[in-house]
Symmetry: C2
Subunit: 353 residues, 2 copies
């Protein structure tokens, strides 16, 4: 006879393809109910951005239909993003489950573009997402999300001032751009940077977030150190363009995070090639080719994806309408969406490892 | 009868087209000698990279040939780069006449590319040139000049350690890249940056230089402040790409230097358009267009030139053979050479103003 235990037994062999463990062991099967020959349960994924959702559902259905008593299977899919563990020296942000930095050694490789679009993609897939623009001197995220004229409001609380993040495309965000007039430079020495980054982490009304994406400035200095040392990070995504000078700086960035004991989630190669919109059979390696793959192999770090040079991606950044919204079918939008899913998958792996 | 004074009188109306003053007043006419109907003199330009050299020579010849006694004119052209004045709080580098920073707010816009090629162009035209790579976290200049495996030597002197610069393509250079192993990150907080920049300025055996080009890191922080405050600068060249996010950061960079009372020599627009090498009648504005001109007009700052996207320019940077050497006839090499000449002209104007 069909009972709760026989369902779990049948599902025991089904694995999460990424975490490589049984769904049952991972406590991803819940609320099992049986009515006649219909089995219904909730599949609790580790991220709303699970790239293998369909595959997992199919595997469950297949496993259950091997039980002769089962005629119908109803699966309700939801997700519970796991929480990263903190080191004793790090102070978690309450209810912020995973902090993900988007970094590189080199400037202008597309960190902000990847950070903003990863945030948009994860939000589109149903995750609760925050975006912390840690580029104090060159805050580009507000422009890229069309909120450059916004200001953050400050709430006086007994425990100190709390910033209310700006809401854009379902994403809660803070940026130096919301605290200064447009075009005004922030002429600060390093220790000031440390202060504002701490504030952006701990004195913002982030609420509960599955992912807090951090758009990093170039370099391996104050901001990188402050972030890695003061909060538990799920990991860092390294963006590089294919050419030598960018790879060399990317290696430096990776080594820094390794020294700071921060997980490297993977490498994104951006500006990989240019296909003229009117000549789809031409392709130009303006910034070279193969650099991301080379780095991935040499350093044994996953390559999360390649993003081509696309005029509409740049326009999306300039106009404040991310390409995932303006041109979701473009090659770069598809690449960015897949990258976001892979990031979410790696983050779950880290938390459950 | 022809005499020294009549020659000077005849040359008095001839102006330096850039400085808009008489060559005679500027003391650019020297060693006048008269033999029968032949007049010979030395024309002392204010830079070996004078873009208007030929024009000035023609103007002199024309003015002198109006004297009926003159049959032949012999002009020996040389140059004496003028020296920038220092503020009381700034410490000049002995024998270093002009310090020129190449900066921007944004990363990856081509600062290092412009700095390296400006240095090469000025050296090719006969100037004594140094290159200070002030990008401590991401030192790319050694790669771009093919000397990434070099090390600087240190000389113990009674007054302290003195670094011996690396020589490449006739350019004396120092870089953090010469002090660390390749790929090693420099995980430093701001105050350390200030120290090394001071050392790169004042504890290097620069010898005598017409121009010391400084390749700046992105941002408006420690390095920018230290440079502007500790040495007299001839001025700063702002590099931007055409798109919004880059322009916004360029404005920030310009405002910072204005606040620090540093001259802005002009704006360079880089990555202006892409012409596929096999399709010379196609052109793509991958990163937008017109941004440099817009900034130039809005801020009343000269536009020094536009550099197209060219694969060989990127390859030159990656392979360590600057495009001015590998492809001197390419569009970007020509643009870079003109930009170097304009920079040199502006610097002379500043010094003589
Ligand atoms: N794949 C792409 N195709 C076209 N344009 C792109 C692409 N990726 C990024 N860009 C554009 O290139 C510029 C630089 O990208 P972005 O600002 O994201 O880089 P960054 O690494 O954050 O720079 P910084 O170091 O200044 O923070 C932006 O104008 C962006 O819109
Ligand atoms: N006009 C161009 N055409 C093709 N490639 C270019 C052009 N200008 C620069 N590049 C390439 O783009 C990359 C970025 O340029 P560069 O390193 O000079 O920028 P940067 O502003 O110094 O960056 P950073 O902020 O990291 O110091 C380099 O690989 C360079 O070779
Ligand atoms: Mg950025
Ligand atoms: Mg650079």
């Amino acid at each position: 006879m069909l009972d709760h235990q026989s369902i779990l037994n049948a599902l025991q062999p089904v694995q999460d393809p990424e975490l490589k463990k049984s769904l049952v062991t991972l406590n991803m099967i819940r609320n099992v109910s049986i009515k006649d020959s219909t089995v219904e349960f909730t599949l609790v994924l580790t991220t709303p951005a699970c790239p293998l959702k369909e595959l997992i559902i199919q595997d469950c259905e297949k496993a259950l239909k091997e039980l002769p008593e089962v005629q119908e299977v109803k699966i309700n899919v939801t997700s519970e993003t796991p929480v990263q563990k903190a080191l004793p020296t790090q102070q978690s942000i309450p209810n912020v489950k995973n902090i993900i930095a988007v970094s590189s050694g080199k400037g202008g490789v597309g960190k902000s573009t990847v950070a903003v679009n990863t945030a948009v993609a994860l939000a589109q897939m149903g995750a609760k997402v925050g975006l912390l623009d840690a580029d104090i001197y060159g805050p580009n995220a507000p422009t890229m999300l069309g909120v450059e004229d916004y200001q953050v409001t400050v709430e006086k609380r007994p425990e100190g001032d709390i910033l209310e993040p700006v809401l854009s495309n379902g994403i809660k965000m803070v940026s130096m751009g919301f605290l200064i007039n447009p075009g005004q430079p922030v002429i600060w020495r390093g220790p000031m940077l440390t202060g504002i980054i701490r504030q952006f982490l701990h004195q913002v009304n982030w609420g509960s977030l599955d992912y807090l994406i951090v758009d990093m400035p170039p370099g391996t200095g104050d901001v990188q150190l402050t972030l890695a040392q003061s909060v538990p990070m799920a990991g860092v995504v390294i963006v590089t363009t294919p050419q030598n000078v960018s790879l060399i700086d990317a290696y430096r960035g990776i080594k820094m995070f390794e020294q700071l004991k921060t997980n490297i989630l993977g490498i994104v190669e951006n500006m990989s090639y240019f296909i003229p919109p009117d000549l789809p059979d031409h392709s130009y390696d303006i910034f070279g080719s193969g650099g991301g793959m080379k780095a991935s192999q040499e350093l044994q770090i996953p390559l999360l994806g390649l993003i081509p040079l696309e005029i509409s991606l740049r326009q999306g950044g300039d106009n404040g309408v991310p390409i995932l919204i303006s041109h979701p079918q473009s090659a770069s939008a598809k690449a960015l969406k897949l990258i976001a899913q892979k990031i979410a998958g790696k983050v779950s792996m880290m938390a459950l490892a």
